[in-house]
């Protein structure tokens, strides 16, 4: 350990050094310790893995108007607009899956204008600032909009993810679903909270 000893001896703590140490201590001491609620334990599920599975499940519980598919073999497209938070989870979930005769296809878009034939669109948190413009750009299209930003469904999105006591919750805006001509199965709606646009909670 001669190196370590020599190094420590050589370590000159001058005025600035003390300042740094003091401020390090200050940050450590002064900042409030959070409640222990955030500690994680094994056995929990990765948030976006779960959300990816939900996006896949929506394909089973939503009915699109006939015109939104070219034919009965046209795949169901799940899109991600903006920064993709799923990693590879979404691709992994839909790989090899079919709903009826339809395969599932994942696409990623940077801009709402790029969203072509798309059936389920996850609007990433990165787009939160321009959500009204995004939703306006999808107006009249048969797209199930899904998001997890605050008040997504009450701001005009169709399905919003929320986290309540560490469980995932769904908020569904039925009026928005109607105007997109989508029918959401009652089986899904039973598990969801139905909200209206502009509603304050």
């Amino acid at each position: 350990m001669p190196l370590l000893t020599r190094t420590l001896v050589n370590l000159r703590v001058r005025l600035w050094g003390r300042l740094v140490l003091t401020s390090m201590l200050a940050i450590l001491v002064l900042s409030p310790a959070p409640a222990g609620s955030e500690s994680t334990s094994p056995g929990r599920t990765h948030e976006y893995n779960l959300k990816a599975v939900f996006l896949f499940q929506f394909a089973h519980f939503v009915t699109w108007p006939a015109g939104s598919f070219r034919d009965e073999n046209t795949p169901i497209t799940i899109g991600v607009l903006g920064e993709d938070p799923f990693g590879g989870a979404l691709d992994e979930v839909v790989a090899g899956e079919v709903v009826g005769a339809r395969r599932l296809d994942v696409r990623r878009y940077q801009l709402v204008d790029q969203v072509g034939a798309c059936h389920i669109l996850f609007i990433s948190a990165s787009e939160a600032g321009r959500l009204p413009a995004v939703l306006a750009g999808l107006k009249g299209r048969n797209v199930l909009t899904v998001g997890d930003t605050k008040d997504f469904a009450t701001r005009g999105g169709i399905v919003g993810f929320a986290v309540d006591r560490k469980r995932l919750k769904l908020r569904v805006n039925l009026a928005a679903a109607d105007s997109a001509q989508l029918t959401i199965s009652s089986k899904l709606l039973r598990q969801a909270e139905v909200v209206r646009k502009g509603a304050k909670r």
Binding site: M24, S31, D91, E92, A125, G129, R130
Partner: protein, 655 residues
């Protein structure tokens, strides 16, 4: 460039960054050497895989308890390393046009523009145009030159709109990255092709950046295969002489490239990418300096299980440089690497790898200065292993690793490190590290002769030059006192031995390892989200380097390089997202004097205003050094160039 995306409070950006930081933490960033991509799934041993979740009923899905990525990522970075990430949003907001300019607002990093094409860039001291203690990788491809162990910054460009992020790690990274990652590592990471679909056009111009433009098109090759191609060009005006005259070093460079990503199955990902470039720099009194090159890289990642993945990558890089009547070089580099990561039990995360690199260097010398032999072939092979142990799950992590690398000059070199990260609460991480890193000899250390016509020589290389050695101790704290405030302090003590010296007590002169020194410093970074639309970022760096001539050495010049770096640097950046899709950024940075070069301290103001009138168009006006007609950043008064105030406008369209 400006984007309304920026109006999203940092959480989004922070989340991405920190998500990646967690990945880094689990592997001490080993992955990024070769992946450059998030293709390795976020293997979360504590959570269910997507495939398993899929089998659950709807009711069951609602009962699952989740770990929120958002929460995790909003908590402070737990990495036991001083890391800072420049995101695509940062690049847009700053209106950045080059990789060096993207590194300006990072604590601990020195960026000094030398003239129209050259930069002196380093971390934690030893700056110079041939600075040799910083390793730079672009998508896993090392761009350091074995000529002087540094980077020709003029030849390193990329399509910045397609960059995902630039990671800057201060401190030794030799254990994973290998020799030359002595004082830091920079990783430029581009987006996967799937994230850059469609047509993007960008262009603009101004007084110094006279004209620049780029086009990128991304498309699909199949259901799981995407590609993009790009081309770009810039024409940059000259730097200035101290009296304000044009220095005649106008610089222009076209560049093009491609990337294709294919995921034949969920477990396999293949990437192939490449670039071509050709730069020309005018010189006032001779023919143009020219450089050109290209590279192609292939990478295959295979996920063996949730706890294990393997990656093989290979690249070829050719670069040529002609400085008329001075120097001409052609360098070919072949590199192949293997990396395997495996989680052993619930506590150990092991990553190990093997690498082989070979280069052929061919130089045409000038009468005054010569690299001898002119043609040289060199081989390096290496292996590394690193284990991250969760001593106390979620609380205390210990990382231990070493790299062994063999080079043709000095034989086997070893670079061990150990790191400890303690996360007492989700808002605090305290970390410490001890490392050994080496800079192996490069051609400039061993093969530099003058004059070329010798013997007799005035300077006869460094026949006995050995590796420079660093022993470093680092200590840092990262904290998130509130949801709006993050702060980090990184401190270091570096002990250098065997540093390069110029021995003038002999004839001919020789390069040797006659210097030693120590450096210490601290870097502070505070990031404050004042409002949902307003973010402040600040940094302060203090460092001190003291070099000494070892007994027996007759060096009098190299020892002065302790004055090549500023003692103090600070910056403050404000980023505002304003109504009407406007974004306004302003940054001020202060750089202390460089005593060895009589470069005075300076304060520079940069600003940019962006507007996105529609989803397809972005406009920006950018000003650099707003309140200063011109100033020097590097070089001695007799020969240096200065940097003038610049403005440019930029338009970006996405279709």
């Amino acid at each position: 460039m400006i984007h309304p995306k920026d109006s999203v409070p940092l959480h989004a950006a922070v989340r991405r960054v920190s998500g990646r930081r967690r990945l880094v933490s689990s592997l001490i960033a080993a992955l990024f050497v070769t992946t450059g991509l998030g293709t390795v799934a976020d293997a979360d041993p504590s959570g269910d895989t997507p495939s398993a979740l899929k089998k659950l009923s709807l009711e069951e899905l609602f009962t699952l308890e989740i770990t929120s990525v958002a929460k995790k990522s909003e908590s402070v970075s737990e990495t036991a390393v001083a890391i800072r990430v420049v995101t695509q949003d940062d690049l847009r907001r700053m209106g950045t046009l080059s990789i060096p300019e993207a590194l300006r607002f990072i604590p601990g990093v020195e960026v000094a523009r030398v003239d129209s094409r050259q930069y002196a860039i380093t971390a934690r001291g030893f700056n110079g145009t041939i600075a040799n203690k910083l390793l730079v990788l672009i998508d896993g491809r090392s761009v350091y030159t074995p000529l002087f162990s540094g980077v020709f910054w003029d030849a390193q460009d990329t399509f910045l709109e397609d960059v995902e992020q630039i990671e800057v790690i201060r401190g030794p990274g030799g254990t994973v990255w290998g020799t030359n990652a002595v004082n830091g590592v920079i990783n430029v990471i581009s987006k996967p092709a799937a994230s850059t679909q469609g047509l993007l056009l960008t262009g603009g111009g101004g007084n110094v950046e006279r004209g620049f433009g780029g086009i990128r098109y991304g498309g699909k090759l199949g259901p799981r295969a995407h590609f993009r191609v790009y081309g770009k060009y810039f024409n940059r005006g000259p730097s200035l002489r101290p009296n304000g005259d044009d220095a005649g070093d106008d610089f222009q460079m076209p560049q093009g490239g491609f990337r294709a990503d294919w995921e034949p199955s969920a477990a396999n990902a293949i990437t192939i990418q490449g670039d071509l470039y050709a730069g020309t720099v005018e010189q006032p009194t001779s023919d143009d300096t020219e450089f050109a090159g290209g590279n192609v890289l292939a990478r295959w990642t295979r996920k063996l299980s949730a706890a294990s993945d393997i990656q093989v990558s290979a690249y070829y890089d050719r670069t040529k440089r002609t400085i008329p009547s001075t120097f001409e070089e052609r360098l070919d580099t072949y590199d192949i690497g293997l990396r395997h990561r495996v989680a052993l039990g619930s506590r150990h995360d092991v990553v190990w790898g093997l690498g082989y690199r070979q280069f052929f260097d061919d130089i045409r010398n000038s009468p005054m200065l010569a690299f001898l032999p002119e043609e040289l072939q060199r081989r390096e092979y290496s292996g590394f292993v690193q284990d991250e142990v969760a001593l106390v799950p979620e609380r205390l992590r210990w990382t231990l690793g070493a790299k062994f690398e063999h080079n043709d000059y000095t034989g086997m070199e070893y670079q061990p490190s150990t790191r400890l990260a303690w996360t007492p609460t989700t808002r605090h991480t305290v970390w410490a590290a001890a490392s050994r890193a080496v800079r192996t000899p490069s051609r400039i250390d061993r093969d530099l002769y003058s004059p070329a016509s010798g013997p007799p020589y005035l300077l006869a290389g460094g026949p006995n030059f050995e590796s420079e050695v660093l022993h470093a101790i680092e200590l840092g704290i990262k904290a998130r006192p509130s949801d709006r405030l993050t702060a980090s302090i990184s401190t270091f003590y570096n002990k250098y031995d065997e540093l390069r010296s110029l021995e003038i007590g002999t004839f001919p002169l020789l390069l040797a390892n006659g210097l030693e020194g120590d450096a210490y410093g601290a870097e502070v970074n505070v990031n404050y989200q004042a409002r949902s639309w307003w973010r402040l970022d600040s940094g302060y760096t203090i460092q001190n380097l003291e070099l000494e001539v070892e007994p027996g050495s007759s060096d009098t010049s190299q020892v002065k390089q302790e004055g090549d770096s500023p003692r103090h640097q600070w910056y403050l950046r404000s980023s505002m997202s304003l109504p009407h899709a406007l974004a306004f950024d302003i940054g001020v940075r202060s750089v202390g004097e460089l005593p060895n070069q009589d470069v005075p301290a300076y304060v520079a103001w940069d600003g940019s205003l962006g507007w996105q009138p529609s989803g397809t168009v972005e406009l920006a006006v950018v000003g650099r050094d707003l309140f200063d007609r011109q100033h020097p950043e590097f070089g001695t008064p007799a020969s240096r160039r200065e940097i003038g105030r610049s403005f440019y406008g930029k338009v970006t369209c996405r279709f």
